[in-house]
Amino acid sequence: MKQTSSAGVPVGSAVLFVILWETRSALGMLLRYDTNVVSYMLATMVIVGLIAIGLNIGLIGREEPANDEST
């Protein structure tokens, strides 16, 4: 699980980044709620970064037995 999680952090971070960034478009298109692009991007990066670090050092998530397979 350790190996899987270490790869899961960048993959999950990428997915989280995309979700948060596209939420801005949804807010703008559906609710006409405009956000400052620079602030929103910085906030997105900070949130993604903190979660990635938290996952990496074990503050978030829990360890499970390793059962990874290589191709």
Partner: protein, 590 residues
């Protein structure tokens, strides 16, 4: 299939060295097209956003055509013929019937591609008459040099002969195994090719019957609406020609990489049969704004298109179920906790999963395109490229690249040069495409047009609902740049893999489905029946629209009535009434 292959004792190249060469050649042709297409992609994304301009805007359509044709004709189709050759040979466990024949169709495809690409690139050279600035959607009234149409025709013939090669293998296998079910991968290949043969009818008539003679000067004019309709007769099912190989990989390879087994073989067969039946009689949904096609035909095309969602939803269920099974086999638990047990560090797995995730978004934007009324909002705007960069540009392209990380070692007996680079590559593609496609979708909703080097109009400004147009341009340019970097990483990684030492033990078997082929009704394997039904559906969907177009515009006439079509029925209703009235009044006066 081969016990040795399935036991993991030997790789594909060990068992079938001659076929491996063909597959590798096809994949290299694909990757070279990808690399060249990516160069034209980054040029146009930086150009139209005005970030960096290395060409004149007058050359934009040459660049756009090169990008489109290289990516969606050469890259995708070369990859899938390689993949299909691998899948048929592997699943039937027998070599091709005649390897010279196999090289012949590959040679034809290369020749056709080179002819078409030379014609397109001729557009950069002023001193030559060569030019094919007709975009991937190469219907009239845009006209290309005959070399372009000739190349397309030869390329098409190559794909037909490739299909015949796989049917020949299956037929030979069937003589030796009369009572066995068609192996799943071969079934998928054969059904895809049947769809391709039906779809090709439209483009063959358009190119050989009209566009090529027109460009050679043998005929003076063509009916633009007729060539458009014949193009889209092929132009929508070609999307499934790209997509069904990706489905083959999601159904048969992805569950294995996830550590599990395919959930249901019968469901996979049903999905492919549905694609054969439904993917062709829908092309008119690309022509909602074309005058000259009555709204009733467009409504039928829309209805058929909505049915096409069914096989994709079935796929989402089957593939996710298979992956979840794999995760639980690997020790994953909980409602969503099993996601953590998946092999995310494997670029083949992660790439295919991210491609599937993007495909879901592409499916939603596709429903907008397919809706007869709401399509008017997004037609010919940047929304449309945003949509197909999620489908063919990610669901297909990213799946092909990710699958290469799994397939390549078995075709070469060489390890991948770098799995971390592979992982970074697929994640970069996901992020880059999310940025670029998001910007395209939003800009499209604001009315920003597609297919132009200069999207801004004199004295007119698009009004954003949030942020600014400049911000969307930057997002598009950044996304395009990340995609270009990702493409380079992929091609370089595969190229460097050719230099790694040969090793043994790289074989990777494909386990049988949880619910196997014997759980499927025998009728599913009756491909003659499905081909017949598909053919009848196409006749029903296209006979009246084509007859209507030809009767009004002629085979070679200018064609098309004024929009809206409501004018035609009113005129045709009023004319007889008026003439009778005039006659009656004339009688009275007399």
């Amino acid at each position: 299939m081969s016990d040795a292959l399935e036991a993991g004792a030997s790789t594909f190249v060990d068992q079938f060295p001659a076929e491996s060469k063909v597959v590798r050649a096809a994949l290299w042709s694909s990757f070279l097209s990808l690399a060249l297409g990516a160069v034209f992609g980054i040029i146009q994304s930086l150009h139209r956003t005005d970030v960096l301009r290395v060409f004149e805007s007058a050359d934009y359509y040459t660049i756009l055509t090169a990008h489109g044709v290289l990516m969606v004709v050469s890259f995708t189709i070369f990859f899938l013929v390689g993949l299909f050759t691998w899948a048929v040979v592997r699943s039937l466990d027998r070599p091709v019937e005649n390897i010279r024949y196999t090289w012949t169709w590959y040679g034809l495809m290369v020749t056709g591609s080179l002819m078409a690409v030379i014609a397109i690139l001729g557009g950069f050279v002023d001193s030559t008459s060569l030019s094919a600035d007709v975009l991937f959607t190469f219907y009239a009234p845009l006209q290309a040099h005959p070399l372009f149409y000739g190349g397309l025709a030869i390329f098409l013939i190559g794909t037909w002969l490739a299909g015949a090669d796989w049917f020949r293998s299956w037929w030979a296998w069937k003589q030796d195994n009369p009572d066995e079910r068609i192996p799943l991968q071969t079934f998928m290949v054969l059904v895809t090719m049947l769809m391709w043969y039906i779809a090709s009818i439209g483009i063959t008539i358009a190119v050989v019957g009209f566009l090529l003679p027109w460009s050679l000067g043998l005929i003076d004019q063509v009916n633009p609406l007729l060539t458009r309709t014949l193009f889209w007769f092929w132009g929508h099912p070609v999307v499934y020609f790209w997509l069904m190989p990706a489905y083959l990989l999601w159904y048969t390879v992805l569950p294995k990489i996830a550590g599990g087994r395919l959930f249901s073989d019968p469901l996979a067969r049903v999905v492919f049969v549905l694609f054969l039946l439904l993917s062709t009689p829908v092309g008119i949904h690309h022509q909602y704004l074309d005058p000259g096609i009555a709204d009733g035909f467009k409504f039928i095309a829309m209805t058929n298109t909505m049915f096409l969602l069914l096989p994709s939803l079935l796929t989402a269920f089957t593939v996710v179920a298979s992956v979840e099974h794999g995760a639980r086999q690997r020790g994953g638990t909980g409602l969503f906790g099993w996601l953590r047990a998946l092999p995310w560090r494997d670029p083949a797995f992660t790439g295919m999963m991210l491609a599937g995730l993007m495909f879901a978004a592409g499916g939603f934007s596709g429903m907008i395109n397919a809706g007869l009324n709401i399509n008017y909002l997004v037609h010919n705007t940047l929304w449309v490229p945003g949509h197909f960069h999620l489908t063919v540009g990610t669901a297909v392209a990213l799946t092909f690249m990710a699958a290469t990380y799994w397939l390549w070692p078995q075709l070469t007996n060489r390890r991948l040069y770098s799995r971390p680079i592979g992982l970074a590559q697929v994640v970069l593609w996901f992020v880059g495409m999310a940025l670029m496609s998001n910007a395209m979708h939003v800009a499209g909703l604001l009315g920003v047009p597609r297919r132009t080097a200069e999207p801004q109009y004199e004295g007119f400004a698009f009004e954003p609902m949030f942020g600014s147009i400049a911000e969307l341009d930057i997002q598009l340019a950044v996304g395009g740049t990340i995609l270009f970097v990702s493409t380079l990483l992929f091609v370089v990684n595969i190229a460097l893999s050719s230099g790694t030492p040969r090793v043994s033990g790289l074989s990777s078997s494909l386990p049988p489905a949880l619910s196997g082929p014997n759980d499927a009704p025998q009728v599913l394997d009756n491909i003659k029946l499905w081909f017949g039904i598909a053919f009848v559906l196409v006749i029903l969907a296209y006979t009246l629209p084509l007859a209507s177009i030809v009767s009004r515009g002629g085979l070679l006439g200018p064609g098309g009535d004024a929009f809206p079509m409501i004018a035609a029925p009113i005129k045709s209703t009023l004319t007889p009434i008026l003439s009778v009235s005039v006659e009656w009044l004339g009688g009275l006066v007399a």
